[in-house]
Amino acid sequence: MSAIVLSGVTRIYPRPDGSRRAVLSGIDLAIGEGEFLCLLGPSGCGKSTLLHLLAGFDRPDAGSITIDALEVSRPDPRRQVIPQDYGLFPWRSALGNVLFALEARGVRGALAAERAHAALALVGLSASAQQHPHQLSGGQRQRVALARALVVEPEVLLMDEPFGALDAFTRYRLQDEVRRIAEDRRMTVVFVTHDIDEAVYLGDRVVMMSADSGRIIRDLAIRLPRPCDRTGSAYLAIRREVFAAFALVHDGQDSPRAGGRADQVRRAGEP
């Protein structure tokens, strides 16, 4: 249904001084149907750029992106993006924002109202349906954005640092909910984050990008029992592995430089 294949994806942006920089350079990646993939890397490494390419907001300068063998050339309601700033319309209530999505899909009237309320209920926001975004907390806004995306029943959900601005308690709760909804609906999720713990906790797979290379430095399959225990030893071992990949471990023996251990890169999703 929704296997995504990137091959040789390159995106070049001009630097302020006029020179050109490959923000993404020859990215190869196969995302399986129903996979929950976390794209992890420091700020500025090109995560949003990659997500915009997946969404069809932008086209690669070289390489191709296909979904079920069809070239991604423009946005498609079956692939819903939740932008970093949520992109809620401030002049519409929570319900109004969700209704807009249905209106865009040509769903109106009682059916639209029913589906919008169901989507808000799914994210636990029924009580705030009439509130406007400025009256909602950051976590609630994120939920509205989620409801707006889910109401059109996408096959792929593309989330850009969705919980970056939230406090830890809200973040943990939303992580669990997103994971649950994605499993229930068998959605393919690409979840961009710069938070190592979040990536390890959420992802079936963590794809890591380094700061300047525009490449994937590590692709790690995560096989933890769900819901996973944030304090368990299996979780902590994987977490440590990710820290190591970004050369954030300083114990003298196991501190490879980022990208320096290509021999040990495990490619999840490949035989």
Binding site: F57, Q80, F89, P90, W91, E103, A104
Partner: protein, 251 residues
């Protein structure tokens, strides 16, 4: 809204100083050149009593409302189009920049030639004066609609019409309202000019007519009324603007 006494005092400083200075100056000149505040207040009372004040203000306000509404009805859709379509803006921009510097007053001889004397030329001038501020504000408001809103609409597969109506227009509206407010002030200024040049009624006419009878006190009274009405109009649209911002979720 509770305003502290100190604030009221501070806010009236300019007005009080102005009246005091005016009064001092008026002592040195004769009343035909510069009547004092007392004489002007008396003139205002006279105009209010004989109905001139209400009649001429009413006529001016009606003309103003007509011209302003016409300008908004023309400039708003055109501005939406020009802001939305890059090509149409490229096509129209040189013409706009050519016409814009021509003062509405310069159109007056033509206006009288085309529409005769009366309401029409004054309304024409007001429309012209309000048209460009509304047009330019609308164009720039539409062009600065956040790209993230447009992406949301595109991602959901919204039609161009839905995007224009339900995304671009409401997103641009708070900025457009700023343009509406600027246009209001500009148009009000030109209303009086229009009426001074070719009308037989209205506040502008009142001033010209008073000059013909050397009633300096009435001239200044008329000017005061123009100023006060302009202030009231600005405050009204300012209130509307704040309400709108609140409804739009802006501070």
């Amino acid at each position: 809204m509770a305003m502290s006494m100190r604030r009221v005092l501070l806010a009236s400083t300019g007005v009080v100083a102005f009246i005091a200075g005016w009064w001092l100056l008026s002592l040195r000149y004769d009343a035909e050149q510069l009547p004092g505040p007392g004489a002007v207040a008396e003139a205002l009372r006279e105009m209010a009593a004989n109905g001139k004040l209400w009649r001429n203000s009413g006529i001016s306000l009606l003309r103003f409302a007509g011209g302003y509404a016409l300008a908004v009805m023309l400039a708003l859709p055109l501005g939406l189009l020009l802001g939305w379509s890059r090509r149409s803006l490229v096509a129209a921009d040189p013409l706009i920049q050519l016409l814009r510097p021509i003062s509405p007053i310069a159109w007056f001889p033509l206006a009288v030639l085309w529409f005769g004397i009366g309401n029409a030329p004054a309304i024409f001038i007001i429309t012209l004066a309000a048209f460009f501020p509304v047009l330019l504000a609308t164009v720039s408001a539409v062009r600065s609609v956040p790209v993230s809103y447009l992406r949301i609409a595109a991602n959901l597969g919204a039609s161009r019409l839905l995007t224009a109506r339900a995304v671009v227009l409401p997103a641009a509206f708070p900025t457009i309202v700023v343009g509406l407010r600027i246009a209001l002030g500009t148009a009000w200024i030109h209303l009086v000019a229009g009426e001074m040049l070719g009308a037989q009624s209205g506040l502008g006419f009142l001033i010209v007519d008073s000059r013909n009878f050397l009633r300096t006190d009435l001239i200044i009274a008329g000017m005061l009324v123009i100023g006060i009405l302009g202030l009231v109009l600005d405050r009204l649209i300012g209130m509307g603007e704040r309400r709108l911002r609140a409804a739009w979720g802006q501070a």
